[in-house]
């Protein structure tokens, strides 16, 4: 029963290597994210949180388990269908921004809409609107090399929002940013949270986690702790690993 679950995973596993050198990047993870929730996944380096995010977004195929996104099962989808899914339902934000160096900010943002088949005029207008929303309206014609780290990430976030995604997945969005830039991005995430955008953020910075509705700690590929920040005292501790 998916109900209003935006993201759902059951028994999700990602294994690398063979018998002798088996690595379980993600180990039998169960997860349910209702629509509108802002979820932060924290954990030390190498605990598999980025891999989990990739699996949830269809960027990688799990070796075991099932993933549902907006009610559709994605671990068995073809690459082509996954591409369409990413186009219409998922927005990605990465640690290293992944903007095109030769395109201006507005051209970067409108690319997502152009790939979705939108006419160029509409794509451009939407891009400008989104840049305005993230506070970069005056930098629309700047190349990424002329933007600061925080500004670049904000352009990336605008791009992720371009096709009105059902869920935004962010992988260490402030990993490459200094303190001031982190604050800019934090503010944006807080705003997204208040607009009921389903958000899953992987981060090692507790500040980001702190603005989420729910924080999950991950260790060695499995969940160790699940805290809902809105209500004091609620939280689950996963005993599997103890």
């Amino acid at each position: 029963m998916t109900g209003s679950m935006m993201v759902r995973a059951r028994g999700l596993t990602m294994r690398y290597g063979d018998e002798d050198a088996l690595v379980r990047a993600v180990d039998e993870v169960d997860l349910e994210v209702p629509a509108g929730q802002a979820l932060a996944i924290m954990g030390p380096s190498g605990c598999g949180k980025s891999t989990l995010l990739h699996l949830l977004g269809g960027l990688q195929r799990p070796t075991g388990g099932e993933v549902w996104l907006a009610g559709r099962r994605i671990d068995t989808m073809s690459e082509r269908a996954l591409a369409r899914l990413r186009r219409d339902s998922v927005g990605f934000v990465f640690q290293s921004f992944h903007l095109m160096d030769e395109l201006t900010a507005v051209e970067n943002v409108e690319l997502a809409a152009l790939l979705a088949g939108q006419p160029p005029g509409r794509a451009r207008r939407r891009a400008l609107h989104l840049l305005d929303r993230v506070g970069l309206a005056d930098r629309a014609t700047h190349l990424p090399s002329a933007l600061s780290g925080g500004q670049r990430q904000r352009v990336a976030i605008a791009r992720a929002l371009s096709n009105e995604p059902l869920v935004v997945l962010a992988d260490e969005p402030t990993g490459n940013l200094d303190s001031a830039a982190t604050l800019e991005v934090l503010r944006l995430f807080e705003e997204l949270r208040t607009t009921e955008q389903t958000l899953v953020v992987v981060t090692h910075d507790a500040r980001i986690a702190a603005v989420a509705d729910r924080v999950i700690s991950m260790r060695d590929g499995a969940f160790a702790d699940d805290t809902h920040l809105a209500v004091a005292g609620t939280g689950t501790v996963y005993d599997g690993r103890r």
Binding site: P44, L183, L186, R187, E190, D205, A206, R207, A209, A210, V211, V215, D225, T227, L229, A232, G233, G235, V237, R242
Partner: protein, 180 residues
């Protein structure tokens, strides 16, 4: 608190209520939780120590908040010395640390569970502080204080994660060895 109050009087004498409002302004949202009477108690102590003088203002009732306070030369000296001090407030983690040790030794509770609960609480505190800091209506100077609170809490959270790791390991080896 004492030095802060002295410093606020360094420029010119001020009424009690002025001092209080100035302090609340500088502290921003954190200032709201400040005890109203705290500052007057401090002023009384300072007066006793001879660092400030307190006078009754003309035409105003004789209440601590209406009195006019001014620095004495001794007070001035103290302010000058305080400004150049570089001592930093020590983080006090000893109490919590000892709590965990006690719980483990006396088998009162699972230290890991304690750490988890504490982490959750610290996380919630951090969330409140962070949300307050992000609020655009906060003036930048007060926002700076909130930033400092958030960053300190973040450091504390990191330490708590270390605690959890170590105590989990401790539990595991304890179980293996068959002893506590």
């Amino acid at each position: 608190m004492q030095d802060v109050v002295l410093a606020m009087l360094a420029k010119e004498p001020a009424h009690g209520y002025e001092l209080r409002s100035r302090m609340r302004e500088a502290l921003g949202p954190l200032g709201e939780t400040m005890n109203a009477g705290q500052i007057y108690v401090t002023l009384a102590r300072l007066a006793k120590a001879g660092l400030v003088t307190s006078e009754r203002a003309d035409g105003l009732p004789d209440r601590p908040d209406r009195r006019v306070y001014a620095l004495t030369p001794a007070g001035q000296q103290r302010v000058a010395a305080w400004l150049t001090e570089v001592s930093w407030p020590k983080p006090d983690l000893a109490e919590f640390h000892l709590k965990l040790v006690a719980a483990a030794t006396a088998r009162l509770a699972d230290p890991v569970a304690l750490v988890d609960a504490q982490r959750r609480e610290v996380l919630r505190r951090m969330r409140d502080a962070q949300r307050a800091a992000l609020d655009r209506s906060v003036d930048p100077v007060a926002g700076l204080l909130l930033e400092g609170v958030v960053l300190r809490l973040r450091a504390d959270l990191e330490w708590l994660e270390e605690c959890e790791r170590m105590w989990t390991e401790h539990n595991r080896t304890g179980r293996k060895a068959g002893t506590a």
